[in-house]
Symmetry: C3
């Protein structure tokens, strides 16, 4: 909020502004269960070549997010010319490339498919799929966001690696020697030498045994690749179709269809379960939203979807309107006071949940909660909508898709303090739809002064 | 039970009868988790123009109703010529008009639809739909029953109002001033004057500021309408189709199809998910049952549906057959005594859960539990069946749909103490199906005396 | 494991072997939440004619099996020429005949169907269906396995009997006298005499009253039948179609289709929801697996199904590969130590969950967990796969359906210590697919000695 008003660069104002921002961040966080920052991620794996981060469980943060208990968010990042070694996880994944260039290989019992992926490419990896992911670029990092839906236990993920590593054993090493000998029809020493890591011996010893191999990081999950290896993995790799988003198993790009909302202030792309068969049984939509610097995504709400949004790039402000006593109902039994169920209980005060947004932040928009998002620099958002089927986005301002305009004239007078004519005149003042300028174009100076203490300070200079 | 035997109007018997009834009501309640009475409703809103009541959570009452944890029941009532102002809730609704005449307006982003509703008209309101409901009648109260399926949190509802009121703020007032200014492209003073209530000032002051408006109740959720306003809202309002129940979004009437069971003792109407697309994804049936005074809905059970029934009108008796130790299995771990898993544990005694029914009561019939309902005055019931798809109603008495009759002759002899011929003769004694006279037509005097203490008293006179 | 190496029958070795086996069984059990033995079953009913056993709740055993909370396993056994009297349960059932010959009668409101069932015949009994099951054979016991999916409460079953018995009252006796009189249009004495048991009087008295009937066991749930009665019940009984498995309501045989995997070491039959409409809404597959004595079902995992397997016959060994810290993630909050989220936390060690299998044991294979099963005598397994739709079985060894073979050559070098050529040569050593000999055919003597202490002892003789 303050950020967009600080065009005048007086040092003192800057200082004040920063203090203001800092205090706002600190104060808004503990009581805003809808925003997740970098410290809400846990590192599952990290080495010089990249990392995998897992966002804390949504329902652990707040009971308000209880219906997200079987959804987890993973962020993956790797350096140029590396590979995330073959593994499978007991969860369905929706994988979206945030930036960089990848080759994703997906194994089947009698087949394999490789895909060239770029920014916005999206694919469902069904639970149990063995896959490996290459950063094929020479310079750019690869960043991937995954929505995971575990199949064994609600909200619990478990990955199985074919390779052993310093940190994690290969799944093959979990079988007893005689099962392995019968399975591979070979003596155990041979199996151990060719397929397994020797975890019983010390690291030092193991290293010396493997002098033949160049990379010591190959003991890890994300390892370097040579140019030749990348070339070999690139063979037969298909690119995501730019025309269609309707394949059962091939990647699709979020921008392959026209944006559902678009003007000079921003663009909103969305692939729904109705448009893509991969999203149907998971009942999830995936959206990509660009808000230009100094622009605003107008206040709106999702009719039935709960949306998990990650900030891919840029900075901005997020405002969500909820209710102050939203979980009193659930707590009533703990209060043990039946009298409290009376009139006062429904004195519902709306509550503004606000947060500064920057790259890597995640926020959740519950169904029905109005939200508005302002970009202080070009803002790039990626959203996963849970319970997506038949979701409708209802706007509360702007020319199109504005449900407020639809109210009957006599009802407008009952709803709002102004007359129906006054209300209509005011609503028509916004000629834009969906996105607009975050600075009102027609506001009078007077009203500004009364509401922002920074302005008085600014005026003093 | 006693009520139907009290045809002889001796004052003493009346007195005894009333005492008997009273003691039965008090004693049956605490141990009958399937019946809900008026004190199990909580008032969400109430003013001179009407109220909204919410039934307590089913699973809060008893673990036996655990599978109803995401279903809530709402009762709405309003005076003639009033409107329930525009709002949206984070739950799917199935709305049924119990009595009165309504206009329901449903808003969409670029459209609106209004419907004239009467008794039995039913419509699904998807979560997040902004709607307003008018009582268009000059004399009759409007009464509506809603089954709600929340989308954000199991069993938790949250409503969002466009209008501010004494008790609840408008959702627009939840956004910060600069978001509102940019959204409406207007200065905040104008927005405040035309769209928002001023909650910071005192009520007294606020009232004086709004002298221009006639109704002080317009600060509330249910407010009065003038005849002219109702006329304007009636324009273009469609009526529910009396012929078809297959529309995706228009209301249908529960009685638009022939009753599935009907005779001179009662009628049973039912709209299933198979018959109506609006009920398909919620997997709910809606039924309307009329039992004439002195008649009985024969013992039967639902094969897989759990049915929530509200008494719309009349009085009667409800008997449900369950098992005494039904939740011992779940408690076994707490007992810490493995030995208790033995033979005695399965000494299952059936249990008769009975309750007196009167207007406004709600009861639940679990799947598989046999139930019978007797009307002491014309009884009008409205039912919502959860898990409705492929539900079958199996009767245990009567001519048609009676599963007992289907048992092979030699098995009948093993099941029942009588011979197969005796069993068949007894079963054929009931010529009616589904509904019958609550007083047996062929019973011998002798058997009556032995089982009802009231009869001996009666004989004394 | 030891069992298959004990071909030489030296007494001392036998003794050692038995001690070895015994200690293994005792030690593996408490920390293996995936295996259930006879003491994990609870007796619901038992008399001279048979019994019904219910396996403990899966999620009671371990939180790892949380997603099985609404699945229960029932085992039913009856003597030749007996009947399990009519009853209905508040759960959907998938019923499979393990051995013996049955007549199953299913009642509908205006119809009944009887089916002759044999080993491998499978049918879905929807919740609330009244059914009775006859052992029609003169000599062989009837053994049936049921997967139950309760509809009223998660994991809780409740059965309703039409007949009264010593242990359990008939559901009709749960209604009050006046409801029964009106329902059957008959005096209560007649109803009591023909339809109800008199539970208020003493057993002694009751017995004397029923001198007319031959069998005192008819007070129980499983009772004897005469040859004449069986003949009458056999009339019009249909047999399961051997050609088609696509009926909506008729039984199908697990072996009516070709096995999906088959060689001289074993056969694997599977009916999936895609193949049979009865399994579609329950989303369950049913499989029947035969592993020949001395053979091995090769290491593989199910991509998304959680499989509940019962040992119908034979003995063997089961190895499941999981991870040691699999539920630390969930427990992290209880630890109250944020620092523990670091690097060490992902030092995941694979864990071998092993168990001896014998008739009547049940084990669970979570999705994604690799499993191998070895038969020490002909092993016959019956599996129910939960979350079956689109499940894929990925093998880790063998010629066909082996996902490891699909890995790109350069990636193989990164995954395994050996070169790609070495890995391929090793993988190609196993010419069999799916099933193989549990004794490797080409192993060198040397490697054997180093890994099994029994061999050194054996050599000493």
């Amino acid at each position: 909020m303050a950020a967009t008003t600080m065009k005048a660069s007086f040092p003192l104002l800057m200082l004040l502004g920063i203090v203001f921002l800092a205090s706002e961040c600190v104060s808004s966080d503990p009581e805003n269960p809808f925003i997740f920052e970098s410290n809400n991620f846990q590192t599952l794996f990290e080495n010089d070549n990249g990392h995998i981060h897992l966002l804390q469980k949504f329902d652990e943060r707040s009971k308000i997010l209880e219906n997200l208990q079987n959804y987890r968010l993973l962020e993956y990042k790797s350096k140029p010319r590396t590979i995330f070694l073959p593994q499978q996880t007991d969860a369905d994944f929706i994988l979206v490339v945030l930036s960089g260039k990848a080759i994703l290989t997906v194994l089947k019992p009698n087949d394999r498919n490789s895909f060239n992926l770029e920014r916005g490419d999206t694919i469902k990896l069904p639970a149990g799929t063995i896959a490996y992911l290459v950063n094929r670029d020479d310079n750019e990092d690869l960043r991937v966001l995954d929505l995971a839906l575990p199949v064994n236990r609600p909200g619990q993920l478990q990955s199985f690696l074919l390779s052993g590593s310093q940190n994690q054993q290969s799944i093959l090493s979990g079988f007893s020697k005689n099962i392995l000998e019968a399975s591979f029809n070979t003596g155990y020493e041979e199996i151990e030498k060719v397929l397994l890591e020797e975890h019983d011996k010390e690291t030092q010893h193991r290293r010396s045994l493997r002098d033949k191999r160049e990379h010591s990081q190959e003991e890890d999950v994300i390892v370097k690749l040579s140019t030749g290896q990348i070339e070999e993995l690139s063979k037969n790799a298909k690119s995501s179709s730019k025309k269609s988003v309707s394949s059962e198993s091939e990647p699709f790009n979020l921008r392959s269809r026209s944006p559902i909302y678009s003007n000079k202030f921003g663009r909103f792309f969305e692939i729904t379960p109705e448009k893509n068969p991969q999203l149907q049984d998971l009942n999830v939509f995936v959206s990509s939203v660009e808000i230009k610097e100094g622009s605003l995504l107008l206040p709106h709400y999702n009719s039935r979807a709960i949306v998990i949004v990650a900030v891919n790039d840029g900075n901005g402000d997020f405002e969500l309107v909820g209710q102050r006593n939203e979980n009193q109902q659930g707590q009533r039994k703990e209060d043990d006071e039946e009298e409290e169920q009376g009139e006062e209980d429904i004195n519902k005060q709306v509550k503004n949940y606000k947060a500064k947004l920057s790259r890597g932040d995640v926020f959740v928009i519950p169904a029905g909660y109005p939200v508005a998002i302002k970009a202080s620099s070009n803002l790039d958002l990626l959203g996963f909508g849970i319970n997506a089927k038949n979701n409708q986005r209802n706007f509360l301002a702007g020319e199109e898709d504005n449900v407020v305009i639809q109210i009957h004239q006599p009802v407008k007078e009952l709803v709002f303090p102004g007359s129906a004519q006054e209300v209509d005149r005011l609503l028509e003042n916004q000629k834009q739809s969906h996105f607009t300028n975050a600075q009102p174009q027609h506001k009078e100076r007077g009203s500004r002064e009364t509401r922002d203490p920074l302005y008085s300070i600014l005026d003093a200079f």
